[in-house]
C-alpha cells in the first residue's frame, strides 16, 4: 500500500482542534512562580541614552547589569560586507524605534508593564536615517558611526557581478527597457507573536528555554555563545508554534535576555510578545528599490539584464543569515528561470534607523519576481507579443538549465505550466469581456507570472554565500522499539506544515508499516540530532530525504535479522504490511516479533548485528527547483483605486506530492500572503522613523473577504535532485502572486497609460498613478 500521495488527515490536528495544543504562552501560564518580563523600548528612531532611572524596589536590568558576555553576531566572510553586532540591550545609542533598552521583572505581565512605566529613560534624540535615499546621501550620518564604513556611511554590503558580454549585448539589442521598482516594508505577521520561557534547574545547572522558534539548535548555539556557557547547559524546547513564516527563524535579543535573567535570578522567566512589539520591533522585510534595464531582441528574446538593487536592512543584522539574505538572494536569483546569457548586477544593503530585516516567506523573491515579470509584460506590450508567448520564447526546456549566476536549475515544467494555463483560462473570451467592460467604464485585467522556487538546498548552496554559520544538512535518527513502533527524531522544526504527518507517510511506505505506528519527534534539542530547523521550503525535502535514507539502513538491519530467523538470504527478504518475508513465499516474521528479538533476544541475532534497531542518516543535497505559473484577474475601480481580485489560478510542479491536501494548503496560504504583499500590507513609517501601522487596524492582513477561490492544477516533474521526488512548495504562493496581480492591474490600466511597479498597490498609490497619467494627457493636449 502506498501512503505517499494520499491526502491523509493530519496527526497534528486532534489536539489543536480541542484547544490542547501547547504554545509558548500556555507554557508560561502553566509554569509555577513564573516571572514576566516587560521591555522598555526606545520611543525614538535614533539618539543617545543620557540616563536610565527607576525606583530602587523595581527589578530592572539594563545593558550595565544584564549578565551577558558578547553581542549577537553573525557574519559573511566577504570583503564587500560590514559585520554589525547587536547588543542584547541598547547601551549608549538607540538605533530604531522599539529597540529594547531595559527590562523589568514582574509577577505578571500586567504588573511588569506597570513597573516598566516607572523606568525613566532620557534620550538625546538625533536625526534618524530612514529612507534609502537618505542613507546613500553623500552627507549622510552613519547609523553605525563607531564602525569603519569603507563603502559609504551606511552601505553594509555592496555586491557586484557581471558576465563578460553584458555591455555588448545591451548595445546589440533591438530594445532596452528601463524600469524602476519599489517594494515596501512588510511583516511576516504570525498570528502568534514571539515568546520564550526559561526555567533554570539549580540541581544540574541546566536551563530549559521553551521558545516559539523555527531553529531550536541554532538558537541553543547562539544563546550559549552570547551568554558564555557551554551548549550542554541549555536545552531548547519548541512547543506548538502559531505560525512563523521566517519571523521566528533568527535569534531575538529578547530570548537571550530571558535566559540571562532566569539564570541570574534562578527563577522561571517568560516574555510573551504583544502585537505592538511584534509590529514595531520584531523582524521586518522586503524594503527594496530596484532599477533594472532589460535588453530584448525584436522577436522577444530576453538577452541581458542590468540591475541595481538596494535593500533597506534596518539598524542591525540578524543571526544566523545576516542582513545579506535579502540583497544576496536578489543578486543571485533575479534572472529567474529565463534563458538569458548576460547579467550584470549591483546589490547593496543600506543600514538605517528602522527595525532590522530577516527572512519572510519568499525572502527577496516576491519582489524580484514582481520586477522580472513586470519587465516581461512591459517588453511583451512594446514588442507586440502575447504575455504567455514572450515567456514561452524565453523559458528553458532543456535541463539542467544554468542561470547566468551559475545556479543550476533541475528539470521542471516551465513551458508546460503555460500550456495548462492556456487550457484552463480562455484568454480570448476574457479579452472580449474586457473590451465590453471598458465601454461601460470598467477596467478588467489579467496577469501572469512564471517562476522557479529554489528549495531543499543543503550546505553546498549555503556555502556559496560565505556564511560563518553555514546551514544545510538535516539528520534523522530512526529507532524501532521492542513493540515494533518507529520513532523518527529530526532536526527540522515544523510549525503548521504537517511534517509529522508527511514524514510518517514516507516512512510507512519505506518500512511497511501504517503511519500511526510512526512517531515524529522534533523541536527539542535534548531529543533530536543537531539540525537547521524549518525554513526555505526545505523540511519535506531535507528531513524527508534523511528519514528515507535512514529507513533504508533500518531495512537492511531488519532484513539481516529476518534472514537469520527465516533461514533465508538477506537479499531475498521483502518488508511489507508489517511483515519481513521471503520474497515469493508465505514464510515471514511479523515486524513486531522481529523487534522483540532484536531487543530482548540478542543472542539470536546473526554475527555482526548489534542489538536494537536504529539508524542515523544525514541528507545534504544541492537543491531543487519547484516551479509554477500564476494567473490573476482583477477589476480596478479607477475612481477609488480599489482592486477587486476576481480569480486566481495556480499551476504548480512540486514533484512528488506526499500529501496533496497539505501541498494545496501551503499554496492557498502562500498565495494569500502574496495577495497581502501585492495589495494591502505595509509597515508605514513617518520621516522620523515612527511606525504608523502599529496595530492590525492599520497593518492590514487580508480577511476571507479579500481572497478569491484559488484554483490549483498540479504537474509533476520527478527527478533525482530530491530522493523522495518531492520539491519544496512553502514559499511559491507568496513568490508568484504579487507579480501576477501587478501585471493584472497594469493590464487593466493600459487604456489609461498606467504601469504599476510598486507594491503594495494600495488605493492611494493607484489613484496617484492614475492622476499623474491624466495630468500627462492634459499636458500633451
Amino acid at each position: 500500500m502506498n501512503w505517499v500521495g494520499r491526502s491523509l488527515p493530519r496527526v497534528e490536528d486532534r489536539a489543536l482542534l480541542q484547544g490542547q495544543g501547547r504554545y509558548v504562552a500556555d507554557i508560561a501560564d502553566q509554569t509555577r512562580s513564573c516571572k514576566h518580563l516587560a521591555f522598555v523600548r526606545s520611543p525614538v528612531a535614533a539618539g543617545r541614552i543620557v540616563s536610565i532611572s527607576y525606583p530602587e524596589d523595581v527589578v530592572v536590568f539594563t545593558a550595565d547589569n544584564l549578565p551577558t558576555v558578547k553581542p549577537i553576531r553573525a557574519a559573511l566572510d566577504r570583503p564587500d560586507f560590514v559585520p554589525i553586532e547587536t547588543p542584547v540591550l541598547a547601551s549608549s545609542v538607540v538605533r530604531h524605534s522599539g529597540e529594547p533598552i531595559a527590562l523589568v521583572v514582574g509577577d505578571t505581565r500586567a504588573e511588569a508593564e506597570d513597573l516598566a512605566e516607572q523606568v525613566v529613560v532620557e534620550i538625546d534624540a538625533t536625526d534618524p536615517v530612514i529612507r534609502i535615499a537618505d542613507a546613500l546621501d553623500p552627507g549622510a550620518v552613519s547609523v553605525h558611526s563607531e564602525l569603519p564604513m569603507p563603502m559609504g556611511a551606511n552601505v553594509v554590503l555592496d555586491a557586484h557581478f557581471s558576465t563578460e558580454g553584458l555591455d555588448a549585448a545591451m548595445l546589440a539589442a533591438d530594445e532596452v527597457f528601463e524600469l524602476k521598482f519599489r517594494s515596501h516594508r512588510q511583516s511576516a505577521l504570525p498570528i502568534e507573536a514571539r515568546g520564550a520561557v526559561a526555567v533554570h534547574d539549580i540541581s544540574n545547572g541546566r536551563t530549559t528555554l521553551t521558545a516559539s522558534t523555527q531553529m531550536p539548535h541554532v538558537l541553543r548555539t547562539a544563546v550559549s555563545d552570547v551568554l558564555g556557557f557551554p551548549e550542554s547547559e541549555l536545552r531548547v524546547v519548541v512547543p506548538e508554534v502559531g505560525g512563523a513564516f521566517g519571523q521566528k527563524m533568527c535569534v531575538p535579543r529578547e530570548y537571550v535576555a530571558v535566559v540571562a535573567v532566569a539564570r541570574h535570578l534562578k527563577t522561571p522567566v517568560a516574555w510573551i510578545e504583544d502585537r505592538l512589539e511584534n509590529l514595531l520591533a520584531s523582524w521586518h522585510s522586503r524594503d527594496h528599490e530596484y532599477e533594472i534595464r532589460g535588453a530584448f531582441s525584436r522577436d522577444g528574446r530576453l538577452l541581458a539584464i542590468d540591475a541595481d538593487l538596494i535593500c533597506n536592512v534596518g539598524a542591525y543584522s540578524n543571526y544566523p543569515v545576516t542582513f545579506g539574505v535579502e540583497p544576496l538572494m536578489a543578486f543571485a536569483e533575479l534572472p529567474g528561470p529565463y534563458k538569458l546569457r548576460e547579467y550584470r548586477v549591483r546589490s547593496r544593503a543600506v543600514t538605517t534607523n528602522l527595525c532590522p530585516i530577516a527572512p519572510y516567506r519568499g525572502v527577496s523573491r516576491p519582489a524580484i519576481t514582481m520586477a522580472l515579470e513586470r519587465l516581461m509584460d512591459v517588453a511583451a506590450g512594446k514588442l507586440g507579443i502575447g504575455a504567455l508567448e514572450i515567456r514561452r520564447i524565453n523559458l528553458p526546456s532543456e535541463f539542467p538549465h544554468r542561470m547566468p549566476t551559475g545556479i543550476s536549475i533541475d528539470p521542471g515544467s516551465y513551458v508546460e505550466s503555460l500550456d495548462v494555463v492556456q487550457q484552463e483560462f480562455d484568454l480570448q473570451a476574457f479579452r472580449v469581456r474586457q473590451k465590453s467592460a471598458l465601454t461601460e467604464g470598467r477596467f478588467l485585467g489579467v496577469g501572469v507570472s512564471v517562476f522557479g522556487e529554489r528549495t531543499g538546498y543543503g550546505t553546498p548552496a549555503f556555502a556559496a554565500r560565505a556564511m560563518e554559520i553555514t546551514p544545510g544538512y538535516e539528520t534523522a535518527h530512526l529507532e524501532m522499539n521492542p513493540s515494533g513502533d518507529v520513532t523518527a527524531r529530526i532536526g527540522a522544526s515544523p510549525h503548521g506544515q504537517g511534517l509529522a504527518t508527511t514524514l510518517s507517510q514516507i516512512l510507512a511506505d519505506e518500512l511497511g508499516l501504517t503511519p500511526d505506528r510512526i512517531q515524529v519527534v522534533h523541536g527539542d534539542t535534548d531529543r533530536t540530532p543537531y539540525g537547521w530547523g524549518t525554513f526555505a521550503s526545505r523540511s519535506l525535502v531535507l528531513a524527508g530525504g534523511a528519514v528515507k535514507q535512514a529507513a533504508a539502513l533500518l531495512r537492511d538491519q531488519i532484513s539481516r535479522i529476518a534472514a537469520e530467523l527465516l533461514e533465508a538470504r538477506d537479499e531475498d527478504i521483502v518488508i511489507e504490511a508489517g511483515l519481513a518475508k521471503v520474497a515469493g513465499t508465505n514464510s515471514g516474521v511479523p515486524l513486531d516479533d522481529l523487534a522483540r528479538v532484536a531487543h530482548h533476544q540478542a543472542h539470536r541475532l546473526p554475527d555482526g548485528v548489534e542489538p536494537g534497531l536504529s539508524a542515523v542518516s544525514t541528507y545534504d543535497p544541492s537543491g531543487t527547483f519547484s516551479n509554477a505559473c500564476h494567473l490573476a484577474v482583477v477589476e480596478v475601480d479607477t475612481i477609488t483605486g480599489h482592486v477587486d481580485l476576481q480569480k486566481f489560478l495556480v499551476v504548480e510542479d512540486a514533484g512528488q506530492l506526499v500529501n496533496p491536501q497539505i501541498v494545496e494548503g501551503q499554496i492557498h496560504g502562500g498565495v494569500v500572503q502574496g495577495i497581502a504583499n501585492a495589495l494591502y500590507e505595509e509597515l508605514v513609517h513617518d520621516d522620523q522613523g515612527n511606525l504608523l501601522a502599529s496595530s492590525l487596524m492599520d497593518y492590514l492582513p487580508p480577511t476571507v473577504m479579500e481572497v478569491p477561490e484559488i484554483e490549483i492544477h498540479h504537474l509533476a516533474t520527478i527527478n533525482d535532485s530530491s530522493i523522495t521526488g518531492a520539491k519544496g512548495i512553502g514559499e511559491g504562493g507568496t513568490i508568484g502572486a504579487p507579480a501576477a496581480i501587478l501585471n493584472a492591474i497594469s493590464d487593466a490600466l493600459i487604456p489609461l497609460g498606467v504601469s504599476v511597479n510598486e507594491m503594495p498597490a494600495t488605493p492611494s498609490r493607484l489613484r496617484a498613478l492614475i492622476r499623474e497619467a491624466e495630468a500627462e494627457k492634459v499636458m500633451a493636449i
Binding site: 491526502s7 488527515p9 493530519r10 497534528e12 490536528d13 486532534r14 489543536l16 482542534l17 480541542q18 484547544g19 490542547q20 495544543g21 501547547r22 504554545y23 504562552a25 500556555d26 501560564d29 502553566q30 505578571t108 500586567a110 505577521l189 504570525p190 498570528i191 502568534e192 507573536a193 506548538e240 508554534v241 502559531g242 505560525g243 513564516f245 504583544d274 502585537r275 510549525h495 503548521g496 506544515q497 504537517g498 491536501q661 497539505i662 494545496e664 494548503g665 499554496i667 492557498h668 496560504g669 502562500g670 498565495v671 494569500v672 500572503q673 496595530s695 492590525l696 487596524m697 492582513p701 480577511t703 476571507v704 473577504m705 481572497v707 477561490e709 484559488i710 504562493g733
Partner: protein, 157 residues
C-alpha cells in the same frame, strides 16, 4: 490592587476565581481557569483568535473584563468535543485541512459554532462575511470556508 472573588460558568462548569477588576476574560480563562485553548493574537479585538461564546454570542475575550461575565454562560473550545468525540466542526476542519499552525483555530471554531447555531442554512456570501471577523495567516481561508460549509450540512442532517 483589589481582588474580586467571583464565579464564572464555563462550559457548564463553575469556576471560582479571585481576580483584579481590570483582568480580561481571556487572561482569566487562561491564567485562572487553566483553559489555555483560547489564544491571544492581538489583544485589541481585531484578529478574533480569542473568540469565545457569551450566552451563545461570539465575543472577543480580550476586550471584555471577566467581571462583566458574572451570571453568563461562557463557552470555549475546550467544551466543543463531548466525551472525546469531536464536534462536527472539529471533524470538518480536520477532514478539509482547515488548520495549519492551529493558533487561530479555536477562535474560528467558536465563531463558526455561533453562526451555524444562529442560521444553519447561512448563504455563502453571508458565511464569508461572518468569517471575515477573524484572521488566519496560514490557510488562506479557503479550507476554513469549505470546512464550515461541510459541517453545516452535516449538522443539518
Amino acid at each position: 490592587m483589589t481582588f474580586e472573588s467571583m464565579e464564572l460558568k464555563i462550559n457548564g462548569q463553575s469556576h471560582r476565581v479571585e481576580i483584579e477588576a481590570r483582568k480580561t476574560l481571556a487572561d482569566t480563562l487562561r491564567e485562572d481557569c487553566g483553559l489555555t485553548g483560547t489564544h491571544l493574537g492581538c489583544e485589541h479585538g481585531v484578529c478574533g483568535a480569542c473568540t469565545v461564546l457569551l450566552d451563545g454570542e461570539p465575543i472577543r475575550s480580550c476586550l471584555m473584563f471577566a467581571v462583566q461575565c458574572r451570571g453568563s454562560e461562557i463557552e470555549t473550545v475546550e467544551g466543543l468535543a463531548e466525551d472525546g468525540e469531536l464536534h462536527p466542526l472539529q471533524e470538518a476542519f480536520k477532514e478539509h485541512h482547515g488548520l495549519q499552525c492551529g493558533f487561530c483555530t479555536p477562535g474560528f471554531l467558536m465563531l463558526a459554532k455561533s453562526l451555524l447555531q444562529a442560521d444553519p442554512d447561512i448563504g455563502d456570501e453571508d458565511l464569508r462575511e461572518m468569517l471575515s471577523s477573524n484572521l488566519c495567516r496560514c490557510t488562506g481561508y479557503q479550507n476554513i470556508v469549505t470546512a464550515v460549509r461541510s459541517a453545516s450540512s452535516r449538522m443539518s442532517q
